[in-house]
């Protein structure tokens, strides 16, 4: 594919430069830091949308366009490259929107809770963008470490015993998972002799005997590392604690961190073990399906059992990852399209929910949560307001009504009720599950019934839990005062929920885009060809004389 545009690397460079620049300023210069980081997030949104637009097919063409950026200007497939296709562009947009919302939210108070908040946050965005763009397995490891290192700092942001304890568990688990990641990458390299994802997809189809066994084992170990990050049962006991202990804007942006694991699993399993992979075709998809189902079940029980709202949101994250993973394991393009839709809407809803919970719980008397306190990991709000840091800004009127409506929208989204995208996505998944080959056609697989019942049951469980939590916090408030909520804290929630409403109104174009993305994923030939035939931006200047 000709003309690799330099814009592809912008989503990595912009937050890196801005984050590095902010390190030179003291934390006292908050307004400046807020302004720079929000401008960065806005720039990321613009770049992400421009990139997404570029992946739209040229007039008359069927396939989406794929751009390859050769970082060292080595001929492909040697060395590291960045690949932009529809899926990575969509994920970039999602990251940028979440980042903007969380940064606006933290203007009010959270950025004051610790040092270098903005830089860490921007480095996290850089790591996320890099992980979505890279086309090289080891470079993926590096970007993962960038985003994890930033997230270690962010999960501890605000400090306090609960955060430090949850953060320590989070760090240990992720360090161990990173070691598994390295083992997997090393095994794949020793069998295939390359680390370029597209090249690996070609080589995987040609391996046989011991080489194939080692490559499959390596892919399995690599998969475990991503399953840990995606929060899949039984590797997820750390997740609800860490997410509910984290500061609200951090938890909001963490709702996409599990989706990075899901994204990689989706990308690699369909690339390496797609229809072209010969006898390893479909390797691991059954395991992914079962793991996804188990996670839905675990998350469902957790959602029903949660007494504190933070944990309720934490378990909803699990339900959301489990659903997407099970749909990937189902390996059918239509279901994947629905799952992508679900991924977008549930990530936005979860991010809004995490921020909302902090606002709701702000007004509550800790005594009202006596039950919740009994739970081992309940992170009591250490953010007891210091009169000196009383926030300045415009408070909103009718606080409870605004919060209540937003909470109801989050509930509707997560439970999958019409008319919002949660419902549309589940409907799309169910439709393609039961009509594998066009409407009313094709044999229905056994697993369809299982997945369908789990989808509906998990929605029901979420609905019960959200209703219960909503009644307790809005209708039956025990003493608790009405929280004082600022405009800048409601604005990001409104932004996220507006994005979801836009997705509902423009459901047709959105779904068509996701459908095309899913069919690209299930037919990775175009991706492989684009990478293998990528042209150097600057041709080598001939052979160098000895």
């Amino acid at each position: 594919m000709p003309n690799p545009s330099h814009l592809i690397i912008a989503p990595i460079l912009i937050p890196l430069l801005a984050g590095g620049l902010l390190l030179f300023f003291e934390d006292r210069e908050r307004r400046l830091k807020d302004a720079v980081s929000i401008l960065t997030a806005l720039a990321l949104i613009v770049v992400a949308f421009v990139l997404l637009k570029r992946t739209y097919p040229a007039a008359g063409a069927e396939d989406g366009r794929i751009f390859v950026y050769l970082l060292g200007n080595w001929p492909a497939p040697i060395a590291i490259n960045l690949v932009l296709d529809r899926l990575s562009a969509i994920m970039l947009v999602l990251t940028a929107v979440l980042g903007l919302a969380a940064l606006i939210f933290s203007i009010a108070r959270w950025q004051r809770a610790g040092a270098h908040y903005h830089s860490l946050f921007l480095f996290l965005l850089m790591g996320l963008n890099g992980a979505f763009l890279t086309g090289d397995l080891f470079n993926l490891f590096v970007f993962f470490e960038v985003l994890l290192a930033a997230s270690y700092g962010l999960v501890l942001h605000g400090s306090g015993p609960a955060r430090v304890k949850a953060g320590m568990h989070y760090i240990v688990i992720n360090l161990a998972a990173s070691l598994l990641f390295l083992i997997g990458v090393a095994m794949i390299y020793s069998a295939a002799g390359t680390l370029n994802m597209a090249h690996l997809a070609v080589v995987f189809g040609e391996l046989d005997g011991d080489g194939r066994a080692i490559a499959e084992a390596g892919a399995g170990i690599l998969g475990i590392a991503f399953l840990v990050k995606a929060g899949i049962w039984p590797l997820n006991f750390w997740l609800p604690t860490a997410y509910s202990a984290a500061a609200a804007p951090v938890a909001a942006v963490f709702s996409i961190m599990t989706k990075v694991g899901i994204y990689i699993l989706m990308r690699l399993s369909l690339l390496f073990f797609g229809s072209e992979a010969g006898s390893s075709s479909g390797f691991g998809s059954e395991a992914l399906f079962l793991a996804g189902m188990a996670t839905i079940l675990f998350g469902m029980v957790g959602v029903l059992a949660s007494q504190a709202m933070g944990r309720l949101a934490g378990y909803s994250v699990l339900v959301s990852s489990g659903t997407v993973l099970a749909a990937i394991g189902f390996s059918q393009a239509g279901v994947t399209a629905g799952a992508l839709f679900y991924l977008l809407s549930s990530t936005l809803a979860l991010a809004a929910l995490f921020m909302l919970i902090e606002l709701i719980e702000r007004g509550q008397d800790p005594a009202a949560n006596v039950l919740a306190v009994t739970m081992e990991a309940y992170g009591e709000g250490e953010e007891e307001e210091d009169p000196a840091t009383e926030e300045i800004g415009v408070a909103i009127p009718e606080t409870l009504a605004v919060l209540g409506v937003s909470f109801a929208i989050c509930g509707i989204l997560l439970a999958g009720l019409p008319p919002l995208p949660g419902f549309l996505a589940k409907f799309a998944m169910l439709t393609s599950m039961f009509n594998p080959a066009g409407l009313g056609d094709g044999a229905i697989r056994h697993s369809s019934w299982w997945l369908a019942s789990f989808l509906i049951l998990s929605g029901f469980a979420t609905l019960i839990a959200m209703t219960r939590a909503g009644i307790r916090s809005f209708w039956a408030r025990i003493d608790g005062e009405v929280p004082r909520v600022l405009l800048v804290e409601v604005a990001p929630i409104a932004l996220l929920l507006t994005a979801v409403v836009v997705m509902t109104v423009a459901a047709g174009p959105t779904y068509r885009l996701l459908e095309a993305t899913a069919s690209d994923l299930h037919a990775p030939q175009a991706y492989i060809e684009a990478v293998m035939q990528a042209l150097q931006a600057v041709p080598n200047k001939g052979e160098i004389a000895p």
Partner: protein, 114 residues
């Protein structure tokens, strides 16, 4: 040499995993370090073990790839060493913070009831 290397990787992983599962934060951090040493050795070994073979190719001469060691795992292991070193240092800070906040070095922040 293969036997020696695999035995040492095995010993490192075994002790690393055992330490990782211990309840003291210091044991956990040493366990993680041992595990990362083992993983680094493992990455290094994926380039096949060679003696007296350089990973760097001379410019402009006719090259027989069989006479050279694979440079990629060596580059990878360098990156992995740096990253695991940095994350271990970061974990050390968290460990100290936890010790300061909770007054114990237990991973759960409090002693388990015996």
């Amino acid at each position: 040499m293969e036997l020696l290397l695999s035995l040492s990787i095995g010993a490192l992983v075994g002790s690393g995993v055992w330490l990782l599962l211990r309840p003291r934060t210091y044991q956990v951090i040493i366990g993680l370090s041992l595990l990362s040493y083992a993983v680094n050795l493992f990455i290094f070994s994926t380039g096949r073990l060679r003696v007296n073979a350089a990973p760097i190719v001379e410019k402009g001469t006719e090259i027989d790839p069989a006479a050279f060691a694979d440079p990629v795992p060596q580059a990878l292991v360098l990156t992995a060493i740096v990253i695991s070193f940095a994350t271990t240092a970061l974990f050390l800070v968290v460990l100290l913070a936890s010790r300061g906040l909770t007054g114990t070095d237990h991973v759960d922040g409090r002693e388990s009831e015996k």
